[in-house]
């Protein structure tokens, strides 16, 4: 069945699943989960090399020979300035000019700082980055990020790693309805149900890490999420029925068998 492809900054993607690379039990499970997910876009963080054990965290060594679109994030940044610095470092790797702007101050909620996020998005978009800001699910802010040059906007469903699902479907619906760039639901999803909900609301894709990496069986969950994305997207494209208060019989009664 033909499905419309997601295109970001002119790049047509083979999957609507953006997968994080943190917190898996081990590199083997991670690679199997990546394969099962079918994801083309993988996210990463940028950190100092641990000089005592330099190859311990070097994640890319486990992915050599496979082809992905790398989406490094600016996690750890508390200000636009820090995020911009991390973005430039990520680009200097020569691996990608895509950047997920992620700026959080509150360690308890890790909610994105909207003002710093907007600032960083503006600067980085002007510098030629493909900017995908992780943002709160505020329709006005999401529009402002688009106007600032974001190539896609990534509102959170709930705080990172909580698995609470989509706390404000009304807002997310508005964000999607008014957007002229792809909307990727990033953070807070817990299970396939949340993914289907996001996709049925019309999201262009979802970004997940913890719900896959910390599932009892990450590989199986990656597969479940992949299918949920496909089911939700197909359902959205197919167009669901209107909800009604009372029943409608599936078969009319005109030729009902009576005595």
């Amino acid at each position: 069945m033909k499905q419309n492809k997601l295109t970001i900054a002119g790049k047509a993607l083979s999957s609507r699943f953006f997968l994080g690379t943190g917190r898996y039990p081990n590199p083997f499970v991670q690679n199997e989960a990546i394969k099962a997910s079918g994801a083309e876009v993988l996210t990463f963080a940028i950190r100092r090399v641990n000089l005592g054990a330099p190859n311990e965290d070097a994640i890319l060594q486990h992915l050599e020979g496979m082809s992905f679109t790398y989406l490094p994030n600016t996690s750890g940044a508390k200000t636009a300035e820090e995020a911009i610095r991390i973005a430039r470092l990520a680009k200097a790797s020569g691996l990608s000019d895509w950047i997920k702007v992620e700026i959080s101050v509150d360690e308890k909620t890790l909610l994105p700082d909207p003002i710093e996020t907007l600032k960083a998005t503006e600067v980085l978009a002007k510098e030629g980055f493909v900017v995908l800001p992780y943002t709160s699910d505020d329709p006005v802010l999401c529009k402002r990020l688009e106007e600032a040059g974001a190539s896609a906007v990534m509102p959170g469903g709930a705080p990172i790693g909580t698995g609470l699902g989509i706390l404000n479907p009304y807002n997310l619906g508005l964000i999607i309805e008014q957007a002229n760039v792809p909307i990727i639901v990033d953070a807070g999803l817990g299970s396939a149900m949340d993914v289907v909900q996001a996709m049925e609301l019309g999201a262009d894709g979802v970004l997940m890490n913890t719900p896959v990496a910390k599932a009892k069986d990450p590989v199986k969950m990656a597969h479940a999420m992949k299918q949920a994305i496909e089911a939700g997207r197909l359902s959205y494209e197919a167009g669901r029925i209107q909800k009604k208060k009372y029943a409608t019989a599936s078969s009319g009664l005109a030729s009902f068998v009576s005595k």
């Binding site: 990463f44 100092r48 953070a187």
Partner: protein, 65 residues
């Protein structure tokens, strides 16, 4: 040479950035470097002279969401 690398003081025998990277046995294509806040492109590692007290950052991609 006394260098501040990733926030720690190191005394190593290196006069260029390339030598610092190989001193720690890092995979050059996986590492990004900064000296005193400025990114140094990989192609300039061998010609970037080091001085005592320089602040060097060696960073890489790690797992993240």
């Amino acid at each position: 040479m006394r260098l501040l690398i990733n926030g720690e003081e190191h005394n190593i025998d290196a006069s260029t950035l390339e030598e610092v990277v190989s001193h720690f046995e890092l995979e050059p294509h996986l590492v990004v470097t900064e000296i005193d806040g400025s990114i140094i492109e990989r192609s300039n590692w061998s010609v970037t002279k080091l001085h005592d007290g320089m602040r060097i950052e060696l960073v890489q991609f790690v797992g993240g969401g």
